[in-house]
């Protein structure tokens, strides 16, 4: 058994989970929703084994490093963290339907990684040979994943809020919308996901700065990646203050969360693909 086979199984599990969640949306049958969650959990379990196996495989061929060293490995890890954060929120708050808006992000990542990226295990270039790699990448991606969940919840919020504004009679609002938690709950979930993501992003930026200081003697050099991570930080800082600011509650906050995730994705991928800088090895 190889890690690449397991990664393919993971992708199929997330695909099945997403399809099941869509069937849940259509059927409103609770046990279908449960199957959707269970498929996502099964995918997470397989993926966990696969990541561990890839780690071991890198030792077997003599490179010996954590599977976080190139774009393929980071996309796979990102998918894993998204489902992990979803699992935490699902277990704690039990709003199953959130899965329909979060699992697609993880599936998208896995499908792109498996079909479009170079899956080979490569040796670590000198710049990445440090324990900081693990701390920095793990904290950043857990943060990103929490923002992905917040983005999914914000999309739900906007759909629900739009529906509530347009339907004059709340009693007949049943149908699909009945599955959605109330906007108050969605707003709260959004805030909670960002409350997980923001400290993680902060620690990710700090470990990055500490690593940069250790490796290059400068903790901050306004490299595009650093700057974009700070931009993301500013946006979510604005989100956190929006809750206490008149005129910024509700829809605007949901939009801030979505814009924040768009900036996160640009920070993660756009910087490597379009801009140059110290993280350019991630683009290959």
């Amino acid at each position: 058994m190889t890690s690449s086979l397991l990664f393919n199984i993971t992708t199929l599990a997330y695909m099945a989970s997403m399809v099941t969640f869509f069937m849940y949306l259509a059927s409103k049958n609770k046990s279908v929703g449960l199957v959707g969650s269970l498929l996502a959990y099964a995918g997470l379990a397989v993926q966990t084994v696969a990541i561990g196996l890839r780690w071991k495989e890198s030792y077997d061929i003599g490179f010996g490093h954590a599977p976080l060293s190139n774009l393929y490995e980071s996309v796979v890890f990102f998918s894993w963290t998204i489902i992990l954060i979803y699992l935490l929120i699902d277990l704690k708050y039990k709003y199953r339907i959130v899965g329909a808006f979060v699992v697609p992000f993880a599936l998208l990542g896995m499908a792109w990684a498996q079909l479009g990226l170079n899956t080979g295990i490569e040796p670590l270039v000198p710049a990445l040979q440090s324990n900081w790699l693990l701390y920095h990448v793990v904290t950043c991606f857990l943060g990103y994943a929490a923002f992905a969940v917040a983005c999914g919840v914000s999309i739900m919020y906007l759909i629900k809020a739009h529906h509530e504004a347009n339907s004059s009679t709340t009693s007949s609002a049943g149908g699909l919308m009945a599955l959605f938690p109330p906007t108050r709950v969605l707003d709260d979930l959004n805030y909670r996901a960002i409350m997980i993501g923001f400290p993680l992003l902060t620690i990710g930026i700090i470990t990055g700065a500490a690593w940069a200081d250790y490796a290059w003697g400068t903790y901050w050099s306004w490299d595009p990646k650093e700057t974009w991570s700070l931009i993301v930080w500013f946006i979510y800082a604005a989100f956190l203050h929006a809750r206490f600011t008149k005129g910024w509650v509700g829809k605007r906050a949901a939009w801030l969360s979505i814009i924040g995730f768009a900036a996160t994705i640009f920070c993660y991928l756009g910087v490597n693909l379009f801009l140059s800088g110290l993280h350019s090895y991630g683009g290959k």
């Binding site: 902060t202 903790y219 974009w228 600011t245």
Partner: protein
């Protein structure tokens, strides 16, 4: 006049205390920061200048877009941001401190109505005994309560983690601490670069500001090596350095190893492995010449840019040489040279000759076969030099920020009141954060209260 002046000051003060300004600043900082990631920063490459119109270049330069993170307007935004932070804290902190030091010991009727978490129990024991039992209950379950008598009723108040309301101010202060660290670094720190050839020493480096800075000691590069993976990808760049004081090696700093991700620090200066190259000046390169079909291989010593005339009148000139051709032609490796050969009476031609591929040197149909054997040139190591006395202040700020965020997000100020009157007691609860989790805790507490034998 005086009142309008005071109104003006007041409105400025209100502006700096407002969250609207905070939102504006955070979004402005996010938006303007994008500019510097799209436009080149620092020295603008001429290719870029050629790409854009002169007017655009002029406007961008006027607006400091090519060094925007150090421009007056970006720094000004950061200062206003700091002012906003400070003003908000000055305005709100005293209230929070009062709230913590003087909690609402007595729950008046309006507050009793406002709280959604409540539980009532009846009892028949005398008031004094019931009060004592309930106080013990709160002490065991949450915290030792403060008892206040008001209008014949006893108000028992217990709270936990009141100080966690300060978490957000810790985060705000941490940002200021980080700024202070950055300012210390820019005032008293220095950054720069130095190249040292193998066997050579330096006691100065080229500072970022463009001036030569004295280290106060000497650094010698004993050796520089590059090792590679089987795939040809670099595995390690390593400098062996020795620190000297007054010409004498400093113990513990002899043959010190510096690799990427593992620098060397001495007297506040840290040396980071950053680049490398070949020290070309005056070094000898070795070419070989063999007549086609012959075995009489001759060695020529040549310097870069130098032309040598052979016995038969052929002129050879060394244009360029590298000890690792892979950087130029990825599929090849080893030393290579670019030479210009002019056979007598013919126009010159440019050839590439390789050490590791003699057959490709032979394949050319000339009457003389050239080869390249390498050089006696030394390697030089390129070291980043940094001194930043503010960096520990920055780390202190970062630690404060993480601690502050954890307090602000994950801890909650929990308050519970029990109002005991004759025959019945009412319990109320409130938490500063995470009401859902606290309501479960309160339900648990309420169940225990009902079980309690009063």
């Amino acid at each position: 006049m005086a009142t309008s002046q005071r109104n003006f000051i007041e409105s400025v003060w209100d502006l700096f205390c407002s969250l609207k300004l905070t939102m504006f600043l955070l979004i402005s900082l996010a938006l303007t920061s994008v500019i510097g990631t799209v436009l080149p920063q620092g020295e603008v490459p001429p290719e870029y200048v050629a790409q854009i119109s002169p007017l655009k270049f002029q406007i961008y330069t006027k607006l400091h877009f090519f060094d925007m993170y150090h421009s007056w307007w970006f720094i000004a935004l950061l200062y206003i941001f700091s002012l906003n932070l400070i003003c908000c804290s000055i305005k709100r902190l005293p209230h929070v401190l009062t709230f913590i030091s003087q909690p609402a010991l007595v729950l008046d009727a309006s507050m009793q109505k406002a709280f959604s978490l409540k539980q009532e129990v009846a009892f028949s024991t005398p008031l004094d005994i019931a009060r004592k039992k309930l106080a013990d209950f709160l002490k065991a379950e949450l915290a030792n309560p403060v008892v206040t008598e008001r209008d014949g009723a006893f108000h028992l108040f217990a709270q936990k983690n009141a100080w966690c309301r300060l978490g957000v101010y810790v985060v705000h202060a941490s940002i200021l601490v980080i700024f202070v660290g950055a300012i210390i670094g820019s005032l008293f720190g220095d950054k720069g670069f130095v190249n040292i050839s193998e066997g050579e020493s330096v006691s100065t480096f080229m500072s970022r500001t463009g001036k030569e800075t004295n280290l106060g000691f000497t650094v010698r590069c004993d050796q520089f090596t590059v090792t590679k993976y089987a795939t040809g990808a670099p595995k390690e760049f390593k400098s062996i350095l020795t620190i000297l004081e007054n010409g004498k090696p400093v113990p513990d700093y002899v043959n010190a190893r510096v690799i990427v991700n593992d620098p060397l620090t001495y007297k506040g200066y840290t040396f980071y492995q950053s680049s490398y190259g070949q020290a070309d000046e005056g070094s000898e390169h070795y070419l070989t010449v063999t007549p086609r079909g012959g075995t009489d291989k001759k060695r020529i010593i040549i310097h870069k840019g130098e032309a040598v005339t052979l016995k038969d009148g052929t002129v050879v000139k060394l244009i360029a040489a590298t000890q690792e051709v892979q950087q130029i032609i990825p599929e090849l490796n080893g030393p290579a040279a670019q030479i210009e050969v002019a056979f007598k009476g013919k126009s010159p031609q440019v050839l590439e000759v390789f050490k590791n591929y003699p057959e490709s040197n032979i394949q050319r149909g000339d009457e003389l076969i050239f080869g390249y054997e390498g050089t006696n040139a030394k390697m030089f190591t390129g070291l980043q030099v940094a001194k930043d006395p503010g960096v520990w202040v920055v780390w202190l700020g970062c630690a404060l920020m993480v601690v502050g965020l954890c307090i602000a997000f994950f801890m909650s100020h929990k308050r519970v009141w029990i109002v005991v009157s004759k025959g019945h007691a009412r319990m109320y609860g409130n938490a500063s954060k995470n009401q859902a989790a606290f309501s479960m805790q309160f339900d648990d507490l309420a169940a225990k209260l009902k079980e309690l034998k009063i």
